[in-house]
């Protein structure tokens, strides 16, 4: 409520963003304004440009048009405040290194050229591993990790950065129940600390339970806002088009959403309700 009146600067502001791969637009004229402290899910069908949007926000892609502002400034000047959890499959897990080593990579940015991580960085990495329940695996070779453990290593690496904005590419993709719960807890902790999280998400059913805001994307922005306001059948149909074969489910979500999101504001029982409905 205070947010709207104060008009605080957006954590992430995307204006008229267009990204194309060889003439084919992956994102078309996308606007996005994410207030600080929000957990935002980006949903949309395959090829909708979800990952592309994340990468464009991170400055990993050069857009054809448009601009991205992080707390009102270009990404390049805000590197310290942004953290990234890429898709698990984006790296080679057979790389010869240990869990702790990967997590410590999160400190490389602040260390600057040449300086090596020392004891302090080590302690922080261990603390981050503790947070995701992986401390006892810190010495393990990364090729021996399960999918869920890999995901948690990446999350720990992002936590070490101690950023303000966390961009996550499908953090829940193919993880076990234990990891899913660990991630949800983590998201809530981040929200409690006032951090902003933007996550590409695939499971429509859990959107109202895990996130406050949702962006529906299919090359163009279909809708974006608090889950209670925009996560409805109409928008889902617009996003998924003919491929959206879960009309009945959408109605279910629509009914459940307000009940879940409203108490969420005062932060009580939001999670319980969601679990009950699932």
């Amino acid at each position: 409520m205070g947010d709207r009146q104060n008009r605080t600067v957006s954590a992430v502001e995307v204006q008229d963003l267009t990204v194309a791969y060889r003439e084919q637009p992956a994102l078309w004229d996308v606007d996005l304004s994410v207030p600080p402290g929000v957990l935002l899910a980006i949903v949309g069908p395959n090829g909708a440009g979800k990952t592309t949007l994340l990468k464009a926000i991170l400055g990993l892609l050069r857009p054809v048009a448009g601009q991205v502002l992080i707390f009102g400034q270009p990404v390049e000047q805000q590197r310290r405040r942004i953290s990234y959890v890429p898709q698990r499959g984006s790296v080679d897990w057979d790389f010869p290194t240990s869990v702790l080593d990967v997590v410590m990579m999160g400190t490389y940015g602040e260390l600057g050229w040449i300086r090596r991580p020392g004891r302090r960085e080590r302690e922080r990495a261990l603390a981050a591993l503790e947070q995701v329940g992986m401390r006892e695996l810190s010495d393990r070779q990364i090729s021996q990790l399960s999918g869920g453990q890999q995901q948690r290593v990446f999350l720990a690496r992002a936590l070490v950065q101690d950023a303000h904005i966390y961009l996550m590419d499908e953090p829940f993709q193919g993880v076990d129940a234990l990891t899913e719960r660990a991630i949800v807890t983590l998201l809530q902790q981040l929200r409690a600390q006032g951090k902003t999280v933007i996550a590409v998400h695939h499971d429509l059913q859990t959107v109202p339970e895990y996130f406050d805001w949702v962006m529906l994307l299919n090359v163009r922005r279909i809708a974006c806002g608090p889950v209670a306001e925009v996560f409805n059948e109409h928008n889902l149909r617009l996003t998924y088009g003919g491929r959206f074969a879960m009309a009945a489910f959408a109605r279910e979500v629509e009914e459940a959403a307000p009940a879940i999101v409203t108490p969420d504001r005062s932060r009580s029982g939001g999670g319980d309700h969601g679990t009950g409905a699932a």
Partner: protein, 394 residues
């Protein structure tokens, strides 16, 4: 004759050659680690071939056969080659492997044309440029080794200083960029290191075989360790050992070329590593697979015996090994497995060829509650241990 101690002149040559070969192994071993982990092993191949026209042009322009001058040409051409590969993959739809092949053959072809042109020239000053084709370690001078040493030191220094940067660059370049690391610059430095390492070895091994020195030590090292630091050290060690061994062997054997001998030695190291390295080696895998199969067999046997004991309601009743045969098992295998199980205490030999499961074996196959069924039916004191049932209920 081989025992005849090398005279002083030979000794000097040998020392120079051996030192040069070691430097070559050291620099390409270290750099190769990164090339292999980045899955860019072929970059080394393309760049070494691309170096040839650079050498020829350097000679044509300066008329100098000074190694430093020729190698400067090699560096420039290798660099240009990698730049073009990069440009091709980024601006066209041609994939990396095709781009590498393209640059390799175009540059190498051009280099051969220039080399032929130089050799056809009337003055005799041109002789010796073709040593860069297959390498000619014997032609190494102390001054050349100095040049190689400088290149090696530069490579080692870069790896030492930019250790964490290179590690992250290879593992997750996107994340490196998100952290604000200068990824483009790091890539340029890494490519320069590969070019440098290749140039260090050109005179000894030649453009054709040089890529083996980049790929092989690192590929062998990867087999033995799961730590990057150890992998770099091992790769360097393998390179040095191969270089030294190759130099020594070829010097002791008449008319054995040094470069190809070095490459053969390093290939031998790769072969041994692929076969025998713990965890990753083929032999290791095979043994592990075998052990696993044996375990599955033993489990199956134990389960059979447990079923028989339940059927007979007794742990005392022995069964001949012929009954226990399963599909695909020979009589010997069955007896072998039974003996293994006996030594583990799960099975006992009742009489000559009669076998029965023990209570321990039973507890293993049917943990907790299922053990009760047997004791109910059998009523044998041995089977119905009170602790056993109590455990099941608690």
């Amino acid at each position: 004759m081989a025992l005849a101690l090398p005279d002083l002149a030979l000794d000097y040559t040998l020392r120079t050659v051996a030192l040069g070969a070691m430097l070559l192994g050291l620099s390409s071993g270290v750099v190769g680690t990164y090339a292999v982990l980045r899955r860019e092993s072929l970059l080394g191949d393309a760049m070494s071939h691309a170096a040839l026209p650079g050498i020829a042009l350097a000679f044509l322009l300066t008329r100098s056969k000074e190694t430093a001058v020729l190698l400067a040409g090699a560096v420039a051409a290798g660099w240009l080659g990698s730049l073009l590969v990069n440009a091709i993959t980024r601006t066209t739809r041609v994939k990396l492997d095709s781009a590498l092949g393209l640059i390799l053959s175009v540059f190498f072809g051009f280099g051969l044309v220039l080399l032929t042109f130089i050799q056809k020239q009337p003055d005799a000053s041109q002789a010796g440029l073709d040593r860069f084709l297959f390498g000619q370690a014997a032609s190494l001078l102390r001054r050349d080794v100095m040049v190689m040493g400088i290149g090696t030191v530069a490579v080692l220094l870069a790896v030492l200083l930019l250790w964490k940067e290179f590690k992250l660059l290879v593992f997750d370049p996107d994340f490196a960029r998100v952290l604000g690391l200068r990824v483009r610059l790091l890539e340029v430095i890494l490519t320069s290191m590969i070019v440098l390492a290749i140039v260090v070895g050109l005179q000894t091994v030649g453009v054709v075989l040089m890529s083996a020195m980049v790929v092989a030590p690192a590929a062998a090292a990867r087999q033995w360790t799961d730590r990057l630091g150890l992998m770099v050290l091992l790769s360097a060690l393998f390179g040095v050992v191969a270089g030294m061994t190759g130099a020594l062997v070829s010097s002791l054997t008449p008319r054995l070329p040094t470069g190809p001998t070095i490459v053969l030695v390093v290939s031998g190291l790769v072969l041994v590593s692929l076969l025998f390295a713990p965890n990753r080696g083929l032999v290791w895998n095979w043994a592990r697979e075998r052990a696993r199969r044996g375990q599955v067999r033993a489990e199956g046997m134990l389960r059979q015996l447990a079923a028989l004991a339940e059927h007979h309601g007794s742990l005392e009743h022995g069964h001949p090994s012929a009954v226990l045969r399963a599909s695909g098992w020979s009589a010997d295998q069955v007896v072998q497995v039974l003996h293994d199980l006996e030594s583990a205490g799960y099975v006992r030999q009742v009489s000559a060829d009669r076998w029965a499961i023990t209570a321990t074996g039973m507890a293993r196959v049917r943990p907790a509650t299922e053990g009760d069924d047997l004791s109910d039916g059998a009523g044998h004191p041995a089977a119905s241990r009170p602790e056993g049932t109590g455990e099941g209920q608690s």
